[in-house]
Amino acid sequence: MNDQDTPTTGTEVARGDHGDAVRLDDGHVVGTGGLPDRFTNPGLPAHHHRMADVDEAAARRAEKQVATLFGISIVGTLAFIVLYFLLDVEQTVFIPGVGYTSATNAGLGVCLALSMLGIGLGAVHWAKTLMPDHEVVEERHPMRASDAERAEVVRVITEEGGSSQVMRRPLIKYTLGGALGLFAVPLVLQVGGSLGEMPKKSLSLTWWNGGPSGPGEEPTFSPMRLMKDPENVPIKAADVTIGSVYHVMPEGLLPDEETGEGGAEHLLEEKAKAAVLLMRLDPAQIKSQKELDWGYEGIVAYSKICTHVGCPVGLYEQQTHHLLCPCHQSTFDVTQDCKVIFGPAKRPLPQLKITVDDEGYLVSAQPFREAVGPSFWERG
């Protein structure tokens, strides 16, 4: 703090008597001198000796502290070995703040932490208190090599490189290039080959197209019942009350619940494409004619796979009719044909056209008219 920093008290506000603006140089005190020609080198700060360097008692104390830390490590390791044989893997133990937790996880973890921390802390404390405390200044050197060394490098490259005769003997040059270039192929081939077969049309097909929809499959459409997931029972249109939500899989995809037989061969792949959310709204609230036409008396079925990156869009709010994706908060408005009203999704959720069969069960009237889920390169 010097004089220049402190304005004279009372000059920083306009004086009340005549109301003039404050003069900008008011309170400014001109300094006495400019900068000195050069600053003196302050040098290195004085070296302070540590307690342990000057006081033998302190050194002994530090020695004991380091030994204690190493001792903690020894105790931790021994306790680890004991607990390893003592504790059963299934055993639980109550720890305040955590609740009942695995005894081996807690016990072995704490012991191992003590045994490692003891070594680490002891070593650092040892270095900081007892190991030599000389301060050494290392000068920086220029990076550039000496002219003689630089000339030698150039000579080695131009003259001795030439003596390998690689420029004179093109056969060696080209076969070496070929060998090295081809060497990369097996590496790339393994990675490429392990990616599996090309998806072909399978990204645009789902089980609703008529059954298995993997690469190379050519399903033919037939109406399929909408089945409850995970119970795998068909849904009667009359049972779907307004405000209801059903999580739906196509008929034949899920295996039989009792026997575990049947169902899709590639169950997870098929489920990931075919999942559908079924909702019933008051038809008067639906603003899209196509949505009404593709539904049945206000019962509408939409793909549950988000068009952003394919998360299951399951958070349906029955009052606002918003359908929220939990991953990135894309929000779809079910009253407007699942238009995106918020979030990163680009396209509305594809609707599944449904109707009822003779027995009153909900069935699909046609497969999805577009690929479900996120965008991909070949998507039409």
Partner: protein
């Protein structure tokens, strides 16, 4: 006092002073803070529809209308309270029994409250009155919500498909759109879980008996009961909220310890 004075320039002095100041302020406030006014009326137990009606008119009609027909605020199509015809005794038992109703003020969502305004007999009377207006789901029996009679494994499967996307895989609750949220399901009575599925309160969709059968509902209750009793082999759950709390913990404590170690390692020893 001299020892204290000598340490007044210690780096921790400001933090210690702050803590003492905060503690004293809090203690002083707690000592002189006014008790919240307790306006709970201890009405006589009422069983009949008539008494339920009287309770309704006194406590609910300002939003739901004198005859539970619902009432508009007059601002667009905004409503003060929906019509209650056909919601059934189950909805009343859920909304009033969990302290959500009566709402003290309009809000984006009625929050669960530990302070239930009415006695169970009064809630039953209100339910009887609402059920008399139009048929609706009734309060489930003790047996229908007994977790010991359900199958927690099947309940877990149903929970993960039908409930987990909003209420979180461990029933910890989660966010919905525009300030609404799905509440945590821990410590909620089985009866109220059942009624919520049956009636679809607020943003929640309806899961009627054809969608999730009464036995399945009991399985879900058994599952929730099981996970609340379960030990945590992995240690602290941090609320079972997934990467949000876990990441926060790692950033604050993990990185905090690392920074502390780095400062200690880099500091001069004398």
């Amino acid at each position: 006092m001299n020892a204290l004075a000598a340490r007044r320039r210690h780096p921790a002095a400001i933090a210690v002073l702050l803590m003492i100041g905060l503690f004293l302020t809090g203690a002083a406030y707690a000592a002189v803070a006014p008790e919240p006014a307790d306006a709970t009326t201890q009405a006589l137990p009422a069983q009949s529809v008539e008494e339920g009606k009287a309770l309704f008119r006194a406590n609910c009609a300002s939003c739901h209308g004198l005859n539970a027909e619902g009432r508009a605020t007059g601002d667009g199509d905004e409503i003060a309270g929906p019509s209650l015809a056909g919601v059934g005794a189950a909805a009343v038992d859920f909304q009033v029994g969990t302290g959500r109703m009566p709402m003290t003020a309009p809000a984006v969502q009625a929050a669960r409250s530990e302070e239930v305004v009415f006695e169970q007999e009064q809630i039953d009377a209100l339910g009887a009155y609402i059920a008399s207006l139009a048929p609706g789901p009734s309060v489930p029996s003790e047996e229908a919500v007994d977790p010991t009679k359900g199958d927690p494994a099947k309940g877990g499967e149903l929970f993960r498909v039908n409930c987990a996307m909003c209420h979180n895989f461990a029933g910890s609750g989660g966010a919905l759109t525009r300030g609404k949220y799905a509440p945590a399901l821990r410590g909620v009575e089985g009866k109220h879980i059942y009624e919520a599925m049956q009636t679809g309160p607020q943003s929640m969709p309806v899961f009627n008996d054809d969608n999730i059968t009464p036995e399945d509902k009991r399985d879900v209750i058994a599952f929730l009961d099981t996970i609340s009793e379960q030990e945590n082999p992995g240690g602290m759950t941090l609320g079972s909220l997934g990467p949000v709390t876990e990441g926060m913990f790692a950033w604050v404590f993990g990185l905090g310890i690392l920074v502390g170690c780095a400062v200690w390692l880099g500091s001069k020893s004398a």
